[in-house]
Symmetry: C2
Subunit: 245 residues, 2 copies
DNA sequence: CAAAGTTGTGTATTTTTTACACATAAAAAA
DNA sequence: TTTTTTATGTGTAAAAAATACACAACTTTG
């Protein structure tokens, strides 16, 4: 006796050939753009380069590139960083994807924005093509494509993120003084903070390691140097934020 | 006398034909996937549908679609919502782009995840093809593609976001009781909260409008109904969070 | 040796968070 | 109609966190 196999109604139209399906999809050029922040002379800076396009002659643009076949977006972003700064182990986070149909004068290109933070002094720029340079954030003017909007969104992202996560240490030397740390926060958040309360706050977090060294070559009384205790932080990440808006 | 025009070195290799440049770019199929959250019977739910692919027979997947030529990602996401729920003015936010080369069995497809929140009772599902249904979050098992990871990331995003922004009201009726609001927060954050402190917190924000109506048809003492004061919120968004991690 | 610039520290006040209990109201069940 | 169930609505005391604020000491430079 023949067995009856139950077939759900929708199984009748199941697609067997996934490859053919995908090949029939329209497709779109995809790039990654990196917003690379640095900190120097108490200013937040961003790495920019003159646009290659005549259309945007003399406009600065972000460091970006086409995503290769079978390359993950994260990979592409790391590749760009490596090519431009020589750095490998750098902070990197995806921020947002930008898709306005006219964002590129050559036709539709989708781009995924990544934000990266690095210590300017640890990484000499390898290539100085096209006026690659660190540009101070507050004075950044128009840019090519929608890159100004991308920078602005990454900056907002950074302002929020730095208050809740220890990102900022990626912008500082491994050993830093509390003044340097405060200057960093003040520059990024564009506020001024009370020194005593700032120090008290970080003291209460108990995530800075006093390495018992002093600043060198400062033209004033040297401060103590600290390292951030990433290990302890990883173990004790807090989850609860508290409802507040 | 002939004028000398200064030409920066890099201007010699400026690209004139942006169109040709873009046409030479490799391209990739791009989709949008929507993680649509609802709230019903004190549970957070997500809208899922059986996969069309034989490869993922009987696996649930998210509502997604190819992004059309010259369609913005946001547009595509709104289109999907409209097609599936009939809803137009719905909360929607881009969360993240997923690019693993093998995430789709038919070949490389990049997808942009959007998160949407809507009130289940206000929107009858138009189409019930492929077992479209609201699935309770805690019991959601494996899914097709990398959709489980996408849901997980959107859920984390929601947990964080709901504590800092008044998203949650999109999941509730326009008029809601404080108990409903607390149940929502407890379900999403998977914690239990002290009722008096919860109410005190919202009272101190002063963003709920007491509309002087009571709950109907509840099997117990009815509570007062409130609306969220979106207008006042928009005017008074706070910017400063406070360093804390 | 004086001036400039910065370090390092404490306390009082206010605000926010937390923990916790009881009387009351409405509906449902007995 | 009474009792039970379930939820509403409210206040206070204690602890923790945030804020505002000032002065003495150290190092370098001129």
């Amino acid at each position: 006796m023949k067995k009856h196999v139950t077939v759900a109604p929708h199984e009748e139209h199941l697609i067997k050939d996934a490859k053919a399906l995908v090949q029939a999809y329209p497709s779109v050029p995809l790039t990654v753009d990196c917003v690379i922040f640095g900190f120097e002379e108490n200013k937040l800076k961003v790495l920019v380069i003159k646009s290659d396009l005549e259309y945007y002659k003399n406009h600065y643009s972000l460091l970006g590139d086409i995503v290769k076949d079978n390359e993950e977006l994260d990979e592409a972003a790391y590749r760009i960083l490596k090519e431009r700064t020589g750095m490998n182990d750098v902070f990197l986070d995806q921020v947002r994807t930008f898709s306005h149909p006219n964002r590129h004068p050559g036709g539709r290109v989708i781009t995924v924005a990544y934000c990266s933070l690095l210590n300017i002094n640890h990484h000499q720029l390898k290539i100085h093509d096209n006026d690659l340079n660190w540009h101070s954030m507050p004075t950044l003017g128009d840019m090519a494509f929608d890159h100004k909007e991308i920078v602005d969104q990454c900056y907002s992202w950074l302002q929020k993120r730095i208050q809740e996560h220890p990102l900022g240490f990626n912008l500082l030397p491994e050993k830093f003084s509390l003044r340097e740390l405060q200057n960093l926060y003040e520059a990024i958040l564009a506020v001024s903070l009370d020194r005593r309360n700032f120090r008290k706050k970080f003291a209460s977090m108990d995530l800075l390691i006093d390495i018992d060294e002093m600043e060198q070559d400062v033209p004033h009384r040297p401060g103590k140097l600290y390292k951030f205790n990433f290990e302890k932080y990883e173990k004790s990440k807090r989850k609860w934020i508290g409802i507040d808006f």
